[in-house]
């Protein structure tokens, strides 16, 4: 199909199928995560997910045979533009789409792809990520959760921490040490299992923002059938790293669910007002904001260029660390400027006033951006070695 036809057909289809309620700005509570336990906020949210999933457009780049849209780079761009044009909300957001899917596409067996990917595309199974442990954060490969070979299954015992949405997820993709004789990086396997399996339990942890999106996760003799390993035994680290590059792309791209974007200049104007020369009546804040606005234009241009590069079929690889570092450091500045502009109004924490302290909560939440998915320091170390080839 030629590209103009694709655009006009897409536009017409969206016009008919995207409900009006799904064309309004969304808050964090409006995200559709899917999964067995998910409760739709409205019939429109469900209808929108089902319509998009039927087209394969929850994951437009994935092959059709796995529940995707099979769209070319140009078509993906057009779909995104047409959705943006009508402010259509993303029908589905999930760790399955951002992280596990790309890893399965690369390393999964044909059977695994046919089984797991459509469940992700339709939003039927929600995934969480079992990487970090109390003793293994930045030094992830030091993880100790054990998977003992019991013939037809691994018996998994150990503890994960900071597992986002572990209490809401249906399944986990989990790094487990299955080869105790092997070296640190070659003894790890990448396992998939149901969070309802016997021996799995979770305990929510409260964040400084007041929310508790993540958990401690415990495994006590969990039986994981052997066909639920992705790749070969001991290949887990390679798969884990590949998945991380996709996680970092996602975190770096500021339009994800993680970053609350607001119009800083408008907020500051409303809160502070102008002086007699027509400038924001807070010269120091204004100067800092000016630098931020330039940096934001810069990063947006970089995301655009990077997007085009990826749609042309290139993988970012280690350069995902560059997006992650730049995007998250920028977002921390954005949120700090936002609360600085809001002043004491943005100290309000509860109640109806000032959106129940949303700006303060976003500001606190943003502090995690430069930690989750690998810290800024770790990103810089990766770049200095993998890209700049500085000595180890």
């Amino acid at each position: 199909m030629d590209i103009d036809t694709f655009r006009s057909e897409t536009r017409a289809w969206l016009e008919v199928n995207c409900p009006a309620e799904m064309r309004t700005p969304m808050g964090e509570d409006d995200i559709c995560w899917g999964g067995r336990k998910f409760v739709f906020r409205s019939p429109a949210q469900k209808q929108w997910l089902e319509a998009m999933a039927a087209k394969g457009w929850t994951v437009p780049a994935w092959p059709k045979s796995y529940g995707g849209g099979g769209l070319s780079g140009d078509e993906q761009k057009i779909l995104a533009e047409e959705m943006q044009r009508i402010n259509a909300r993303p029908p589905l957001q999930s760790f399955g789409i951002w992280m596990l899917g790309p890893a399965l596409l690369q390393f999964g067996s044909e059977e695994q792809k046919r089984h797991y990917l459509p469940l992700i595309a339709r939003g039927e199974i929600r995934w969480c990520q079992g990487y970090s442990e109390p003793g293994a954060g930045s030094d992830l490969a030091g993880l100790q959760t054990k998977g003992v070979d019991r013939g037809d299954h691994f018996e998994v015992t150990g503890q994960k921490i900071w597992t986002s949405y572990a209490d809401k997820a249906d399944w986990i993709f989990c790094l487990v040490r299955t080869e105790p004789e092997e070296k640190k990086h070659t003894g790890i396997s990448f396992l998939l299992f149901d969070m309802e399996s016997a021996g799995v339990s979770t305990k929510p942890i409260k964040l400084i923002s007041g929310a508790s999106p993540f958990c401690e996760t415990f495994f006590d003799g969990v039986k994981v059938p052997k066909d639920q390993i992705v790749g070969a035994r001991g290949q887990g680290w390679t798969i884990a790293k590949y998945l991380l590059t996709h996680e970092r792309e996602m975190i770096g791209a500021a339009d994800s669910a993680l970053f609350a974007k607001s119009d800083l200049a408008a907020d500051a104007l409303a809160a502070i007002g102008l002086d007699d020369t027509g400038r924001l009546d807070d010269p120091m804040l204004r100067a800092e904001m000016g630098q931020f606005l330039v940096d934001e234009l810069c990063f947006d241009a970089h995301l655009d260029m990077t997007g085009a590069y990826m749609r042309a079929g290139h993988e970012l690889g280690a350069r995902s660390a560059e997006l992650k570092y730049l995007g998250t450091e920028l977002n921390k500045r954005r949120q700090s400027l936002r609360v600085a502009a809001g002043g004491s109004d943005d100290l309000v924490w509860e109640g109806a006033a000032n959106d129940a302290g949303q700006a303060a909560k976003d500001w606190l939440r943003s502090k995690a951006n430069t930690i989750e998915g690998g810290t800024s320091e770790v990103m810089l170390s990766i770049l200095s070695k993998a890209v700049l080839k500085l000595p180890g």
Binding site: L269, M289, V294, C298, A301, L380, S384, P391
Partner: protein, 369 residues
């Protein structure tokens, strides 16, 4: 990470090859040695390759390949510290004439493209770039027009065959084409820290014919805006080349210099600073490319993106050259190393056509604060 068309890739490759062989930093040192700050000898070659007519349409004797392509050339010029009238004549004057059209364009644009003439823009009147503050004036009745005023930091003004002078005529902006050898024009050459040609120019009762007026009023405002936008994006691209050269030399040094029995590139404090610089260079490259694309597409974002590119590049250029010197230690301070030369060009390019503060202020105003 930017995607280039085949034509653009070809230009980038040929620019890199041509400049590296014979017009690199060694050549710059040789010019500095003999006090040649114009490098007029390179002009014929640049014209031959089509570079001097890169943004001039074919109808005016150029090749009309556009700003993105021009930016690729500018980046290589920066990387090699090549001295040439590319930005002043090919880009600033080329853009002004191409957007003005008319007899002056018919006459001068082809000469710029062939390298038979160098045309420079005389605009700044004070130490900081404020193109909107103009005291230079055209006065008198038609037939007896006079130009009076003083301009500073006229890049390539010392060697130009014509100057495009910004002046006021009443309340109107007026762009005047002026022969620097005309009676009443005094050019004071200046030796600059980056050894590139500039002049301070004084105009005293210089006689102007009606036909010397390139544009006036709203038309002049538009032409100047487009010219400055183009100049800023291209200057940023040149500065990007300078910064990348500084960064690459620095990364190399981190891979080879030893202290405490190890390569200094093993020190995490330096690794992280190098990686941060790398990230900044990557994102500013994208912004500059976006600004150049906007110029080619004549999009509504031209003004915002070109100014943002110039502002951001000023900060990243400073980071690249300062970090470069610091991470080299003592040897970074020596004239024998290229870093100092890069730092000086970087400083000049920051001032040229407006620094970070100037353009950031515009963006703040545009956002209503």
């Amino acid at each position: 990470m930017e995607l280039l068309s085949e034509d653009q890739q070809l230009i980038a490759d040929s620019a890199a090859g041509f400049l590296r062989d014979g017009h690199g930093i060694a050549a710059f040192r040789a010019l500095r040695e003999v006090g040649d700050d114009a490098n007029s000898a390179i002009l014929a070659d640049l014209a031959e390759m089509g570079w001097m007519g890169i943004v001039i349409p074919e109808a005016l004797g150029g090749v009309g390949l556009g700003y993105r392509a021009a930016g690729l050339i500018a980046e290589e010029l920066g990387r090699n510290l090549t001295v040439s009238p590319f930005v002043s004549s090919a880009i600033l004057a080329g853009t002004a004439l191409a957007s003005a059209g008319g007899d002056l364009a018919q006459n001068w644009a082809p000469k710029i493209a062939t390298g038979d003439a160098v045309v420079a823009l005389a605009m700044d009147e004070a130490a900081k770039h404020r193109p909107e503050r103009i005291a230079t004036a055209v006065t008198g009745a038609p037939g007896a027009l006079k130009l009076n005023g003083r301009k500073t930091y006229v890049v390539d003004g010392g060697v130009a065959d014509r100057l495009i002078v910004t002046a006021k005529r009443g309340d109107d902006l007026c762009l005047v084409m002026c022969d620097p050898l005309a009676v009443g024009v005094t050019r004071a050459p200046q030796v600059m820290l980056d050894h590139c040609n500039t002049a301070a120019v004084i105009f005293e009762d210089v006689e102007i014919a009606g036909a010397d007026i390139l544009a006036q009023g709203a038309a002049a405002d538009q032409i100047l805006a487009k010219t400055l936008a183009a100049g800023r994006a291209i200057a940023a691209a040149e500065q990007l080349g300078v910064a990348k050269a500084a960064a690459e030399q620095t990364y190399d040094y981190l891979r080879t210099r030893k202290q405490f029995g190890v390569l200094i590139g093993q020190f995490q404090a330096l690794q992280h600073r190098a990686a941060d610089l790398y990230c900044e260079l990557a994102q500013v490259s994208s912004l500059i490319a976006a600004a150049l694309n906007a110029l080619d597409e004549d999009s509504a974002e031209v003004e915002t993106l070109t100014r943002a590119a110039k502002a951001k590049m000023a900060r990243v250029g400073r980071q690249a050259t300062e970090e470069g010197v610091q991470m080299h230690g003592g040897i970074g301070m020596t004239d024998e190393m290229d870093l100092g030369l890069l730092m000086k060009r970087d400083r000049a390019l920051t001032e040229f056509l407006g620094d970070a503060g100037y353009h950031t202020e515009w963006i703040l105003r545009q956002r209503g604060i």
